[in-house]
Symmetry: C2
Subunit: 219 residues, 2 copies
């Protein structure tokens, strides 16, 4: 397999082309690190964007939802649902001396393609397993697996990673040379997602210790 | 003005209707707190979802971009660009005893409508000012304002807050009663966006102190 995705017109940005990346490893890392993504599809000719969790297994991205949810009904109605899945990690504020050079440092991935409803029961179980482990690695093996009723009420979408691009903006501000003597502070403010101490459910036996994959949670 | 947005078929979820909110104050708070949103539009019949920053001024949401960027070109070509703008704040992992009751605690807003390109120079300047203050409150007054060339290269989209809904999921896991005796830990892991110490740009005079709106940054 090639180490990079092939750029297409749809995955080639019109601006800041130097920020575009097609390397599989860069793409995989962003998808795996992002807790959620935003799923876009078209309904009655208009765009719909919904937040959802995702999981990557090799070169396939999985999403899930109730069989009665909008995107799952749309996917059932056709043969492959045209989607755009975007995952974004914001890493810093970038403050320049001039208003329009302000920016964010970020890493994002855009995947476009036709998503298919997963029909194979084994693939569906694998996908649900990985969706759970995406949230907290190790959790899928440490909970009650789905039963037949729950599986019937849950739909899984699969999207092959074929038309894919990453966009990465790192570093500090890029001010115009003549602005550098202005008195305004310039630089970056790093941002990070921090996990707090696990809070047990009200109905949990207080003797039950929180598992290490939660007490040392980190993305 | 009514204190709530009027639900429409497009802003009424098919599932978990009890999580839907239309209160303006709830919606405003989520939009103001979210650093970025995801903008969805339709290009050649297919969905496109891009991360971008936004700012709310009263009942209008503003987005900006290069005049040469995809959504700005699409908006220029028509009279109002059909968009869906979604902003999501993830607040906790929710771990249940059963796989399919796992969830996230989150607050999100979905705005649908036809966005218009802002033509009025005064409105455009106000929008750019608010986009900067959305990133860091107080920054717009503490940098060089855009000049004529920069303004000409930047397009601003306005989307009136008319068809709007929020979705809020709070609290702990909701396990089936018969699962509560299972040995798995259940509860929540709080997540928060944390700002680090401001890092000055390489070309900044080290005597320049970081402004308080950055040293005490918090969303």
């Amino acid at each position: 397999m090639e180490t990079a995705y092939l750029p297409t017109p749809r995955t080639t940005p019109t601006r800041y082309r130097e920020r575009a990346h097609y390397d599989r490893e860069i793409v995989h890392r962003i998808l795996d690190e992002a807790l959620i993504c935003h799923l876009g599809y078209v309904s009655a000719g208009r765009p719909v964007v919904l937040p959802t969790t995702h999981a990557r297994l090799g070169e396939t991205l999985y999403l899930h939802g109730s069989t009665g949810s909008g995107p799952m009904l749309a996917a059932k109605a056709g043969s492959g649902l045209p989607v755009c899945v975007t995952a974004t990690l914001v890493e810093a504020l970038v403050l320049a001396r001039s208003a329009l050079h302000h920016s964010l440092a970020y890493r994002s991935v855009v995947v476009v393609g036709d998503a298919r409803l997963v029909e194979d029961p084994a693939e569906k179980l694998r996908a649900l397993h990985s969706l759970l482990d995406h949230i907290a690695s190790g959790r899928a093996a440490d909970c009650r697996p789905p039963n037949a009723r729950e599986l019937a009420a849950t739909a899984v979408l699969a999207l092959d990673l074929v038309e894919v691009s990453a966009k990465v903006r790192t570093g500090g501000p890029a001010d115009e040379p003549e602005d550098c003597t202005l008195p305004h502070w310039a630089g970056v403010v790093p941002l990070s997602l921090t996990a707090g101490t696990p809070v047990p459910a009200d109905d949990l036996d207080p003797a039950t210790p929180a598992p290490p994959y939660l007490t040392r949670y980190n993305r």
